[in-house]
């Protein structure tokens, strides 16, 4: 149903009558979806959309701002239906001026509103990064608590498919370094709903890193998660799969890869524990360390550039707190140290694949194939 609706929007323009039709269809879709099948499933896109809808309904101070969030229904349809429901004062289409509208969002947050600012992708957040860091993250500290900034910056982060170097960077490590920011990276629909609601309700600036390729993925979802009061805690990782031989940490899309790698490893007798970080900042050091103390081996997985990445921080924190428990050096799987190439085969080499995670886990378990000689 949703596919037809989406296709219609993508193909035609959106004019008044087709908007009305789409609205009717999506209403029908929304009301029938939950009861249509035995196990409830929800796409990440719908999870985010429903979270935004519920938070906007609950608090009149919440508003959405960004390029194409209103009449276009959202560049990735995350804000679909919100304009019709809440009106143009609360769903604000902006010109293509990130520095300007990020600043306006932060200023609105200074004055007590709760903006949700969308970057069409986080690559464009670099145009506005001064406002994210200097105007938002640092204000509560510099003003000794006078000026708090309850803002959420959200949007797709990291590599998509074939979009090239300027549209594929992962910003988790950069934003994760900044005191005053909270940085979240959902994986499943439950994560998307719970973490976005938590982010909107949080009194501090939150950078919410979604993933374009995950938007269309469906995940099973419980009634508890569907409840409008559902919220996940910020700063807590989730153990997606329990294991005892090696710990694999990942966030966002890489959690799916890590889970698939864990299945392959299980067939070879290696029981991998997969941790979905959920929160890049604050980082759940205690869950990570507890896991490593159990398994004694660690692989960190991320899509972003390897140097000074999230894995580097995790490795350092485990070495500091659980050194005696490590039976093997910490392994890092990350994106290649190159700008993202376009050619499909090179692109594949630039991003971690499931076999990379499997190989690293085997290495950590001393079960690897001989390493290739390096230059």
């Amino acid at each position: 149903m949703l596919g037809i609706v989406r296709g219609r929007i993508a193909r035609g323009g959106v004019n008044a009558s087709s908007l009305q039709k789409i609205r009717n269809q999506s209403l029908i879709y929304a009301s029938s979806r939950s009861y249509s099948s035995a196990s409830k499933e929800m796409t990440v896109r719908d999870a985010l959309n429903s979270a935004l809808d519920e938070e906007m309904s609950a608090d009149p101070k919440v508003f959405v701002m960004g390029e194409e969030v209103g009449e276009y229904q959202g560049a990735y349809k995350i804000s679909k239906g919100l304009l019709e429901k809440y009106g143009p004062e609360r769903v604000v289409d902006t010109p293509i001026t990130e520095a300007g509208f990020a600043g306006i969002g932060v200023g609105a947050a200074y004055h007590g509103l709760r903006p949700v600012v969308e970057f069409m992708t986080f690559n464009f957040s670099m145009q506005a990064i001064d406002h994210i860091i200097n105007s938002a993250a640092k204000s509560n500290y510099m003003s000794a608590g006078q000026i708090s900034v309850p803002i959420v910056f959200r949007g797709p982060n990291g590599a998509a498919a074939g979009v090239g170097a300027q549209h594929s960077q992962c910003y988790a490590a950069w934003f994760g370094a900044c005191p005053g920011l909270k940085v979240l990276a959902p994986y499943s629909s439950e994560d998307a709903r719970g973490l976005l609601k938590a982010a909107i309700r949080d009194p501090d600036p939150v950078v919410f890193l979604e993933n374009e390729l995950l938007y269309g993925e469906s995940f099973p979802i419980s009634a508890e998660v569907l409840d409008s009061s559902f919220c996940l805690p910020i700063g807590k990782a989730k153990i997606e799969r329990e294991g005892k031989d090696v710990t694999i940490t990942a966030f966002s899309k890489m959690v799916g890869y890590a889970l698939k790698a864990a299945e392959i490893l299980a067939k070879e007798g290696i029981s991998a524990e997969v941790i979905n970080l959920r929160s890049i900042r604050p980082l759940d050091r205690s869950t990570i360390n507890a896991s490593v103390r159990k398994t004694n081996r660690l692989i960190t997985v991320e899509e972003g550039f390897p140097q000074h990445g999230v894995g580097a921080e995790i490795c350092a924190c485990v070495v500091e707190e659980s050194f005696e428990y490590l039976d093997a050096p910490v392994e890092r799987i990350a994106g290649a140290d190159v700008p993202m190439p376009y050619a499909a085969n090179l692109e594949r080499m630039a991003v971690p694949q499931i076999e990379d995670i499997v190989r690293a886990a085997k290495r950590a378990c001393y079960r690897s194939v001989p390493m290739a000689a390096t230059a």
């Binding site: 508003f63 004062e89 604000v92 902006t94 010109p95 001026t97 520095a99 300007g100 509208f101 990020a102 600043g103 306006i104 969002g105 932060v106 200023g107 609105a108 947050a109 200074y110 004055h111 007590g112 509103l113 001064d130 406002h131 200097n134 105007s135 204000s139 509560n140 500290y141 510099m142 003003s143 000794a144 608590g145 006078q146 000026i147 708090s148 309850p150 005191p179 005053g180 909270k182 949080d202 009194p203 501090d204 805690p233 910020i234 700063g235 604050p282 050091r285 500091e320």
Partner: protein, 385 residues
């Protein structure tokens, strides 16, 4: 006017009746120094209504600001103030005139030359000096410094170090005012240097598109750090640079012109959206305390402005010509202000530096008990409440 009342707790009663004399609230009409020049709008008249009480408070408040900035200069040279210190002496009329035209529910946001605006918005001398010296009783508890003064309850949103950033932030304040259906406005202040920033035009475009009650105030002191306006801007008619956004050029050394312009701008912004005010002003000090201010401008220029256009002298002449006080009385007021400022400095010096535990305060509003580390994480760590 908050300033005059606020400083009274540092006053010792004097035998001279001058300060206790109540000044009448009868209207006096004054003329601004020059007529307003406008862009895409009809300028307000140059006759401004005021009262003796207002004129005396203008004098007192500007004299306090002047004295405070000069005292800050000495404290900086004595190494009690560190880092950056950007002084406002010469520009006082902008802060005072603006404050006279608005309420504390209107918002002001500015860049780093913020000491006097903080004072105008109800900040105290002790809070100012304590913050400059990095002490606990500073307005930002010593955590901000010269460039990060805030007073949210009276609508002063800082205090920003990144040139130009405050303009989109100010438009955001105006957005929130409109969203919440308040009948108030925001004055987003910036200098001639910041006037060329791209984000300013981005924000102005959105403010105009959405009819935000935003007033962009260019405090044109003719030098962006060491670069004269004609070397930085192809067009330095800043009041015209809004294109479709109307603008007004104002003599920023005339507190009454500033007051009139701000009143006009507030009415305009509430009905028609953004407007630009260019305040033609001047700073006697260099850009900051590390700039002597004499390598890019001639001493004659500085002394010339002091003689011809000084805002304090203008008010003094007006007061004398209207027989509101004698020269001696005004001089006594200035002496008294000097004493007040000295006492505030002494009090601020007594304030202790922040406790080491305060290093980790206010990183977040809600810290969730997260661990936070010092330079040696095995040695210094804490938990964010």
């Amino acid at each position: 006017m908050a300033l005059t009342h606020r400083s009274s707790n540092l006053l010792k009663p004097l035998s001279a009746a001058v300060l206790r004399r109540t000044f009448s609230t009868d209207t006096i009409t004054v003329e601004t120094s020059v007529p307003f020049t406008s862009h895409n709008c009809s300028p307000p008249p140059r006759t401004v209504e005021t009262t003796p009480a207002e004129m005396m408070s203008f004098f007192r408040d500007m004299a306090t600001m002047r004295r405070m900035e000069i005292a800050a200069d000495s404290l900086y040279k004595a190494k009690l103030i560190r880092g950056f210190c950007h002084l406002y002496d010469g520009q006082e009329a902008v802060a005072i005139g603006m404050e006279a035209a608005i309420t504390s529910k209107d918002c002001i946001i500015t860049a780093y030359r913020d000491h006097c605006l903080f004072l105008a918005r109800g900040g105290t001398l002790v809070e100012t000096f304590a913050e400059l010296m990095g002490r606990k009783d500073g307005c930002s508890k010593g955590k901000g410094g010269s460039m990060h003064f805030y007073k949210k309850e009276s609508g002063f949103y800082g205090g920003h170090g990144i040139v130009g950033a405050q303009v989109p932030l100010g438009c955001g304040l105006a957005f929130a005012q409109k969203y919440s259906k308040e009948e108030h406005v925001t004055f987003a202040m910036y200098g001639d240097g910041a006037a060329n920033q791209g984000q300013l035009f981005e924000a102005l475009n959105m403010a105009a598109l959405w009819d935000l009650p935003a007033i962009l105030v260019c405090e044109n002191n003719h030098y962006g750090m060491g670069t004269a306006e004609w070397r930085a801007a192809k067009s330095y008619a800043y009041y015209k640079r809004g294109d479709y956004v109307p603008g007004l050029k104002v003599d920023g050394m005339d507190a009454f012109a500033v007051k009139q312009a701000c009143k006009f701008a507030k009415e305009h912004a509430l009905k028609n959206g953004p407007i630009i005010l260019e305040m033609d002003t001047y700073r006697y000090h260099g850009h900051s305390m590390s700039d002597p201010g004499s390598t890019y401008r001639k001493r004659d220029e500085v002394t010339g402005v002091r003689q011809e256009r000084d805002p304090l002298e203008r008010i003094r002449k007006l007061i004398l010509s209207h027989d509101l006080a004698t020269e001696k009385e005004l001089k006594d007021t200035e002496k008294e202000i000097r004493k007040e400022v000295d006492e505030a400095i002494a009090k601020a010096k007594e304030s202790p530096m922040p406790d080491p535990s305060e290093l980790f305060d206010n990183v977040y509003v809600k810290g969730f008990g997260v661990e936070v580390f010092g330079a040696d994480r095995k040695e210094v760590k804490s938990v964010l409440p």
